[in-house]
C-alpha cells in the first residue's frame, strides 16, 4: 500500500510516454507549493532520470516499465524512480565537465543541480531505485531569524 499521500505513475520504458510523467511531476510539484521555476527544473530533472533509465538500465528496450512515485515529505517532495533493468555502475554515473562543449553528459548534471538529494539504491533484487529529494526554499522571513 502506498504511503500517505503518495501518487505514482507507471509507464513503459518508451520515450513516447515521458511527457505523461512530466505532467504528473508538474501537477504534483505545483500542488506542493514549489515555485514555477522550481517546478520547471524538477520536471527537467525527473525527465533526465527517466531518460537515463530508458537509455542505460533498459538499453533502449521499450518493453520494460518505469514506476515514478511522488511522496510528500515535511518540507518538500521525495520522488522515486524504479526500474527492473540493469543496475548502474556507480563509477560511470557522472556528468561531463561543463566547460567542455559537446553533446551529451548533461542529464546527470541537471539532476544534481536541481535536486537536494540524489541516491541510487541498487539493493533491490532487480533493478534500481533512484531517490530524489527536493525541498522548498525557506521563505525570506524565516531566513531573517537565523
Amino acid at each position: 500500500m502506498a504511503a500517505e499521500g503518495t501518487v505514482s505513475i507507471r509507464i513503459p520504458s518508451d520515450p513516447k510516454h515521458l511527457y505523461l510523467m512530466r505532467r504528473l511531476v508538474q501537477e504534483v510539484s505545483l500542488a506542493h507549493g514549489f515555485t514555477e521555476e522550481e517546478v520547471r527544473r524538477m520536471v527537467l530533472a525527473m525527465d533526465e532520470a527517466c531518460t537515463n533509465v530508458i537509455r542505460y538500465a533498459y538499453g533502449g528496450d521499450p518493453g520494460g516499465t518505469i514506476d515514478i512515485e511522488a511522496h510528500p515529505i515535511e518540507d518538500g517532495l521525495c520522488f522515486t524512480v524504479i526500474d527492473q533493468g540493469r543496475k548502474p555502475d556507480a563509477a560511470t554515473i557522472a556528468p561531463r565537465a561543463l566547460d567542455e562543449v559537446r553533446p551529451g553528459g548533461l542529464g546527470t548534471h541537471f539532476i544534481q543541480m536541481v535536486m537536494d538529494e540524489v541516491r541510487y539504491d541498487t539493493s533491490p533484487e532487480r533493478g534500481t531505485r533512484l531517490c530524489l529529494v527536493k525541498r522548498r526554499k525557506p521563505r525570506d522571513e524565516s531566513q531573517g531569524k537565523g
Binding site: D14, T51, R55, D99, G104, H109
Partner: protein, 113 residues
C-alpha cells in the same frame, strides 16, 4: 504529444528551422533530422526558431550543440531565436547561454549582420 518542425528558406538564402512542441528523448531525433537537412542545404546562416518550444531537455540541447559544432566546422552562422523562459532556463543550467548566438526573435536573427 507531437512535435512540429517547419523548414524555410528566406529570400536572402538563410535557412530557418521552426520547432514547435516539447523536445525530449522521443522528439529530438526529428529535430535533429530536420537540422541536418537544413545544414546540408548550403545556407550560410541557419536560424533555429524555438519560440514554440514549451519544453526542452538535454537531448534537445545535445541536438543544438551538434548543429553549432557542424556550423562552426563548415564556417556557417548558427543562431537561436525566441527562447521561451523554460528553454532559457535549461540553457542557463547548462551554462550554454554564452556559447550560442541567441536572438529574441526570428526576425532579429535574420536581419542582424
Amino acid at each position: 504529444m507531437d512535435i512540429h518542425v517547419v523548414m524555410e528558406r528566406t529570400e536572402e538564402g538563410h535557412g530557418v528551422l521552426e520547432v514547435r512542441g516539447e523536445v525530449d528523448m522521443h522528439t529530438s531525433p526529428r529535430v535533429r533530422e530536420a537540422q541536418i537537412r537544413l545544414l546540408r542545404s548550403g545556407a550560410a546562416r541557419i536560424v533555429i526558431d524555438l519560440s514554440g518550444v514549451a519544453y526542452m531537455d538535454s537531448s534537445g540541447i545535445a541536438t543544438l550543440i551538434e548543429g553549432l559544432q557542424w556550423a562552426r566546422r563548415e564556417g556557417r552562422e548558427f543562431r537561436l531565436a525566441g527562447l521561451t523562459p523554460t528553454v532559457r532556463d535549461v540553457f542557463e543550467l547548462a551554462r550554454l547561454a554564452d556559447v550560442f548566438e541567441i536572438f529574441s526573435t526570428r526576425d532579429e536573427a535574420l536581419k542582424d549582420a
